[in-house]
Subunit: 337 residues, 2 copies
DNA sequence: CTGTTAGCGCTTTCAC
DNA sequence: GTGAAAGCGCTAACAG
């Protein structure tokens, strides 16, 4: 490997500690010395040894990502790769490395986090797929280790997180449908227990109320999961009694199932919207109107939040502002609505 | 942070050096001691400090991935996320961390590699998107830094690499088409200068020859890139004179362009195949017959090759076998063929 | 403003 | 088979 701090010190005619101070831009070093040392660094092609720096007490400039390992989801939904890219763009600009790992299950994830922390290789964690009652969150809090969540935090005041404004996003969808002239709008959601389902449902309700339309319980269905099957089941339920003229779903997969049910039963003329703007929705005919959750920006913001947290003194972290970001969504109109 | 080597030593009633030897499974430690130390490690939840280990002379158990930052490609083609997952599965099993970074351009990539190397944070590099005359490869060779390539190596003897057998893959496609009764089969490829184009073209030629069918130059077209536009252009060229009854393309995007051209010009009844098994191809109607390149396994193999290389003594690396893997492809028949 | 010194956690001779 | 001790490259008191 290349030159070390001693070489630089010798070359510049100063002590290693001075070089170290220059590296971290310590204010008590004279301009002249800084210049000389920086010259030496360039001259020798010096890059600080991250391991040594980290060992000696600096927090390692590396973040660890925790990803779910759901092949299907990863494949259909570009969310993760986009979020990873967003994180990468920001972190790289701030000089941070990124570690990633796909986990089979929650147990696995905790294991990784433990390794991240104890290896001393990582100074903060980004969770890309928070569940309800996420044990990873508990573990990180217990370990008092800096982290940020992409998604809704169970305890939004004491956790750093980024998320879409899901209420707003669905409000927008329903408003859009109303403006297109739809009057009887159904709602097809994921599991009720999920915060994201609740938020989007509330957005749906408020959008209707805001325009003076009644909420019709028969047009609302929450599935057991986010699969096509649940979408089909939802279609069966919602399209049973009163006929809606549009259905807003909280997930593209649900929408695909719904469309499939409609096709199989010869039901036509009902507008459908999804969430996540997945590849299939773009290319199928008719194209699926969907909400782009802006995964890239979610990633960037998450990285920003975490790095700011890390670079804030321990003592001032309490009143760090902000501890979260809302990232705007974007409705992408296509043929289904 | 958790327990350190001293804590473990004390707990097990041995010296730190003994613990270190147990960690690395040194053969001169008695079974009894090993057992006792391992117990202590579990008991205390000990995880070795990677920074310290690395500082003290061990090569850091971390690999660095270099990814292209092409949003479109990343989005349409699940190759990268799958390859990353494959790498992750294997590397984790061997106890390696993974660093990733998306780069804007070649300049960027070299910069990252430099950082990877000089920071002492990384002991090997995986290149996921090798270009022709890749400067990253040159740089890594010049630095004498271990790396492996996913894709074709310019110098396959002195480089570690994994790739599909592209000749074989296209041979299979054409044989499949012949067996389905197609007789006039066209070829629509990417840029001629790419090795992958050449290999697949040769597979095409040999498959025809093997069955005694003539190669008709008019049915062959190589585009300037791998875009839909090139696919449309290819359609125009190939479907101009002699009418083929099937066209094998080297990329789903080309196939989409070709299908679009056919649709716009009312041409029907021509079988079409693609490569990469992208999401759009799966969900469009008719579904695109395509070749799955097995990105997951490409990733796993790449990680395996690199880790084996790293764990081989410097002196024995010359005669390391193997220095490459061919990963089988899988033809996925759908409606277009 | 700058240098000296001790030490981060681990590995590795060198002893025994 | 195991322990003692030196040192990897860097940082952070503590001096001055």
């Amino acid at each position: 490997m290349g030159a070390n701090i001693k070489d630089v010190a010798k070359f510049a005619g100063v002590s290693p500690s001075t070089v170290s101070r220059v590296i971290h831009d310590n204010s008590r070093i004279s301009q002249a010395t800084k210049e000389r040392v920086r010259n030496a660094m360039v001259e020798l092609g010096y890059v600080p040894n991250a391991a040594a720096s980290s060992l000696a007490g600096r927090t390692p400039r590396t973040l660890g990502l925790v990803l779910p390992n759901n092949p299907g989801e990863l494949f259909k939904n570009p969310f993760f790769i986009n979020a990873m890219r967003g994180i990468s763009v920001y972190a790289q600009a701030r000089g941070y490395f990124l570690l990633y790992s796909f986990s089979r299950d929650e147990e696995d994830e905790i294991q990784f986090i433990r390794n991240y922390i104890n290896s001393g290789w990582v100074s903060g964690v980004i969770l890309l797929a928070a569940r309800k009652d996420d044990r990873c969150v508990d573990y990180l809090k217990l370990s008092d280790f800096p982290f940020v969540l992409i998604g809704h935090a169970a305890d939004p005041l004491t956790t750093c997180w980024v998320d879409n404004d899901n209420f707003q996003a669905m409000y927008q969808v329903v408003t859009y449908l109303l403006e297109k002239g739809h009057r009887k709008i159904g709602f097809l959601g994921g599991p009720e227990t999920f915060r994201v389902t609740q938020d989007r449902y509330n957005g749906y309700i408020q959008a209707l109320k805001g325009r003076g339309f009644p909420l019709e319980e028969e047009l609302v269905f929450m599935g057991d999961d986010f699969t096509e099957d649940s979408g089909m089941k939802g279609g069966k339920e919602i399209l049973g009694s009163i006929m809606p003229d549009a259905i807003a779903t909280t997930d593209d997969q649900l929408a695909f199932g719904l469309l499939k049910y409609m096709e199989e039963n010869g039901i036509e003329g009902i507008a459908v919207t999804g969430f996540n703007n997945t590849v299939r929705g773009i290319y199928q005919r008719p194209g699926l109107t969907s909400v782009d959750v802006n995964a890239d920006l979610l990633g960037e913001r998450a990285a920003e939040l975490l790095i700011n947290l890390l670079e804030t003194d321990e003592s001032e972290r309490q009143n760090l502002s902000p501890n979260h970001y809302f990232v705007e969504t974007k409705l992408i109109p296509r043929e289904t609505a």
